[in-house]
């Protein structure tokens, strides 16, 4: 039903093919959070994967740093219509964290310090698609961007990349997390513009 807006020319004629539909390139790094920024000390930080067997796989900050660290260069896409290309992160692949995890469930709920949640299918976290990241652009990840560590799942809209992440619960069926309960799409593929339900 799209129609031409009278008088609108637009500016960005050299549209970058790395930009999904409806996205605009930004060079800064906007912050979007539903509440105050939690302050989490790495001394108190831990990351836990909880499975249906009741087994917890838990890493302290030092445990995490002892794992193989990967450099990640990726584009990120926020549902509020901005994208940032070629961002640099360092973190631990979810493949590494899941190496010894036995589960029959296909879905996860990510939990964050501060209470944020978001649901991500396990398939979207494995095979080099997701990391627990603690550095951005060569610096420790700032708290307003999710430091000390956040999930990054860059092939989905960035609200799936839970800031201040503290763990994943394996769940049997896909359930909506925080923004998903507040009108946002259950999966959030930017190339399909899965923004809202």
């Amino acid at each position: 039903m799209s129609f031409i807006t009278r008088g609108f020319g637009g500016r960005s004629r050299d549209r970058d093919e790395r930009l999904p539909p409806g996205q605009t390139l930004v060079h800064d790094f906007p912050v979007l959070s539903a509440g105050p920024t939690p302050e989490v000390d790495t001394a108190d930080w831990a990351f836990t994967i909880h499975t249906e067997t009741g087994v917890d796989h838990r890493w302290t900050w030092d445990d995490l740093m002892a794992l193989p660290i990967e450099d990640v260069s990726t584009d990120i896409h926020c549902v509020t219509h901005w994208s940032k290309l070629g961002t640099s992160w360092r973190g631990i692949a979810l493949d590494t964290l899941f190496a010894d995890v036995e589960t029959g469930y296909d879905y996860t709920m990510a939990h964050s310090y501060g209470g944020y949640t978001t649901n991500v299918p396990l398939d979207d976290l494995l095979d080099g698609k997701a990391w627990v990241a603690f550095e951005f652009d060569g610096e420790p990840l700032p708290a307003e961007h999710g430091g000390p560590a956040r999930l990054i799942v860059p092939h989905l809209y960035f609200w799936k990349s839970a800031k201040w992440v503290r763990g994943l619960d394996m769940i049997e069926r896909d359930e909506p997390g925080f923004w998903e309960q507040n009108g946002y799409h259950l999966r959030g593929d930017p190339w399909k513009e899965e923004r809202y339900w």
Binding site: M1, S2, F3, I4, T5, R6, G7, F8, G9, G10, R11, S12, R13, R15, G22, T24, V26, D28, F29, P30, V31, L32, S33, A34, G35, P36, T37, P38, T80, H81, G114, G115, E144, P176, F178, W179, Q181, N182, G183, Y196, W197
Partner: protein, 268 residues
């Protein structure tokens, strides 16, 4: 989960547009098929160029309720692509596409018990856990837009919940909704629907204004907002720097993180 109208694309026709401040416009839209929206929600505006190029941006809605009339107040972002068009070029009768209503968290709903309008045949037992709680709004610049929607909804519902707005703005000429806020704040503060407005001028205050000019400080915030002991729900909207500062001070002042809802715009 609270049922709400599913968001969708709609055609919006400009009913009126006029300068709100030197850097912004108030745009009244009539949106065919709009299901209504709650106070604090936002929408996406999509513009399409003759060659099919599109640009989409999100804007807070300054109005609420079941009407198809939707009010936006858009700040002109220097070097922006969409906002200068909306502020300077849009004319009455023009059509744009909008998608919404969006967002179910940064919203305020009138209290069904204390709101003045009676609801026949429907009585809720008083539930202490659902007791009305005062509301503190904190806005910086154009961040006041969704907060104005909340204050208007509160007044329209004659809701008895105490409401207070702290509004940080550059100068008197930069005030959004200056007349409306003044009108909301003139009533008897004890009456349902009343609003108390506290202004912080960051660059220039009105002549003779005794209050200090400058960015809000923790001390000023503490002296102006409802205390943590009153357990207010707090809505904070503004630039990232403003929201980060205010929200962290609120935590230091004893407000609970789960009572503070934030919305940020702009880059870092």
């Amino acid at each position: 989960m609270i049922a709400r109208p599913r968001s969708a694309w709609h055609v919006a026709t400009v009913v009126s547009t006029r300068p709100e401040t030197p850097g912004s416009a108030r745009i009244d839209l009539d949106v065919a098929g709009w299901p209504g929206n709650e106070a604090g929600q936002h929408l996406d505006v999509r513009l399409t160029a003759p060659d099919g190029y599109t640009a989409t941006r999100s804007y807070s809605i300054a109005s609420s309720g079941g009407s198809t009339r939707v009010v936006l107040a858009v700040d002109r972002v220097p070097d922006g692509e969409v906002s200068p068009f909306l502020v300077d070029e849009l004319r009455v009768g023009d059509r744009v596409e909008v998608h919404g209503p969006l967002g179910g968290f940064f919203v305020w709903r009138p209290d069904p018990i204390t709101a003045g309008a009676p609801s026949p045949g429907h009585r809720r037992d008083p539930d202490p856990s659902a007791a009305p709680r005062p509301v503190q709004l904190v806005g910086g610049g154009s961040g006041v837009v969704p907060l104005f929607a909340m204050a208007s909804a509160h007044a329209a519902a004659r809701d008895a919940t105490p409401f207070r707005l702290l509004y940080s703005v550059r100068s008197p000429s930069d005030l959004f909704f200056a007349d409306e806020l003044a009108a909301l704040a003139t009533g008897d503060p004890e009456q349902p629907g009343a609003l108390r407005v506290d202004l912080v001028y960051t660059r220039r205050a009105p002549d003779g204004d005794p209050r200090p000019v400058g960015r809000i400080t923790r001390e000023r915030l503490e002296a102006t907002v409802l205390p943590a002991g009153a357990a207010p729900r707090v809505f904070v909207c503004g630039s990232t720097g403003f929201v980060e500062a205010v929200a962290s001070w609120l935590l230091e002042l004893g407000h609970r993180a789960q009572d503070i809802r934030t919305e940020r715009f702009g880059g870092t």
